[in-house]
């Protein structure tokens, strides 16, 4: 687990830093998507999470659903094109699970991507990915320590 400006950014995930979303892919090619520690920090206590339904198609850059914190509703941006195959049932009863464990139990949706190889090339991962995320956070003046 790498720590960047006080935010946890694990090296084994793929990131879209500007959208604060992460992806991991299992052996079967299914992608799990969630919001990063940075996103949950910026949002503060998440009181509601509403993913789009399983079976719905999604496009890279479109909304996968929304989260609400303190009268604020904002989208979770899809990093991939494909079909939503599963949503996290735990979020319905306890959306704050996203705050508590954004990279684990707080995952948002699972997607069957149509072009993982192509679209993952636009994401960042590994030590270089963490560096790229840090560069974005520095540019935006974002720190999870404040």
């Amino acid at each position: 687990m790498a720590e960047v400006n006080g935010c946890n950014i694990p090296e084994d995930r793929y990131y879209w830093p500007e959208k604060h979303v992460w992806v991991s892919v299992d052996d079967g090619g299914v992608a799990t998507v969630g919001v990063t520690d940075v996103a949950q920090f910026l949002a503060k206590k998440i009181i509601s999470a509403l993913p789009k339904a399983a079976g719905r198609p999604t496009k890279k850059g479109r909304s996968l659903g929304t989260i609400e914190s303190g009268k604020w509703v904002g989208p979770v941006t899809s990093p991939l094109t494909g079909e939503i195959t599963e949503t996290n049932p735990a979020m319905a009863s306890d959306p704050s699970i996203i705050n508590q464990d954004p990279y684990g139990d707080g995952w948002f949706v699972r997607i069957q991507p149509v072009d993982w190889k192509g679209e993952s090339a636009d994401l960042v991962t590994g030590p270089e990915g963490v560096q790229a995320y840090q560069a974005f956070l520095d540019e935006e003046g974002i720190s999870c320590l404040d």
């Binding site: 503060k44 009181i47 509601s48 609400e68 914190s69 303190g70 009268k71 604020w72 904002g74």
Partner: protein
């Protein structure tokens, strides 16, 4: 109009209840597509209920006969009528602080200054509630719509507490009475001239954003988007939205930190009003005699404030 240096100001005047919601949603899409940051104003000419994007229609009084419109920003169900004069500030995502709470605060502060300019001694409290003393004077909600940030709020020139308390589903008349009592205590109308408020808010938002205010109108794209929202917002599927998860408890928020909760156990209903973490009032309905579970029920209510 230079979209990088101008604050577009649109005074829509009196509009239908539907348009008082759909107009600024259309603007949010326009600003996302390159229209200038925009400050808009409007007054609904009819009463209706506005419900937050994530909230369940089952939170509303089943006897409610007012139109219901589901907005794409947060917060709970609220009663709206022509005693409320609305403003909306819409800016590109990049112009708002990344932290959600900071974004709301930054985009509410000019409104608070405008309230003061028209003689209302408003402040923004630590919970981002616009207050006079400890009484809420402005309902607000916020969110990211497409690539823009929207904060909406209102100048409440007249407030119908009874109507506002009537739109929510309440588990008993005692619970509704308590909610109404807390609303009367903590929600305050601040009569002021809406035209003067418009002028003051225009000046204050222009100063804060470093933009020159210029009167404007909707773009063609926004007019097209308005048609889309006019249709969507009356679609029963959109209005119905989700069902909520109440965990057997009823909660109704009066303002940030002040709420009324109610739950039942063993044939008794306990209704309590909370101010921050303190219990201010407890009312028990049910058979006479000892009710040993009341402490547990109050503790459970206190641990589950409304969202």
């Amino acid at each position: 109009m230079d979209s990088t240096k101008s604050l577009r100001v649109i005074d829509f005047g009196r509009v239908s209840g539907l348009r008082s919601q759909t107009l600024w949603h259309a603007i949010a899409h326009g600003v996302s597509s390159g229209a200038p940051p925009t400050l808009s104003f409007m007054q609904p000419d009819e009463s209706y209920v506005s419900i937050g994007y994530h909230r369940g229609i089952d939170e509303l009084n089943p006897h409610n006969e007012l139109p219901v419109y589901r907005r794409m920003v947060g917060g709970g169900p609220v009663y709206v009528d022509d005693g409320q004069y609305f403003f909306q500030i819409v800016v590109p995502l990049a112009m708002a602080p990344a932290r959600r709470g900071d974004a709301i605060r930054t985009l509410l502060e000019p409104a608070v200054e405008a309230f003061n300019d028209v003689g209302i001694s408003a402040t923004l409290d630590a919970r981002n509630e616009v207050v006079v003393g400890d009484r809420k004077i402005c309902g607000h909600a916020a969110g990211q719509i497409s690539g823009s940030v929207v904060v909406v709020g209102n100048l409440i020139t007249r407030f119908d507490h009874l109507a506002a308390a009537s739109i929510v589903r309440a588990p008993s008349e005692v619970a509704r009475e308590e909610f109404l009592a807390q609303m009367r205590r903590y929600v305050l109308a601040t009569p002021a001239d809406s035209g003067l408020f418009l002028e003051a808010a225009t000046r204050r938002y222009g100063e804060r954003l470093g933009l020159g205010a210029e009167p404007g109108t909707l773009t063609d794209e926004e007019r097209d988007q308005l048609d889309v929202f006019d249709t969507l917002f009356v679609d029963p599927e959109w209005v119905d939205g989700l069902s909520t998860h109440q965990n057997g408890m009823w909660r109704a928020k009066v303002k940030s930190g002040v709420w009324v909760g109610s739950a039942t156990c063993d044939g008794h209903r306990v209704t309590a009003s909370f101010h921050d973490d303190e219990i201010k009032e407890v009312r028990v309905e049910g058979p006479d005699g000892t009710f040993e579970e009341m402490d547990q029920l109050l503790a459970a209510l206190a641990a589950n404030p409304p969202i």
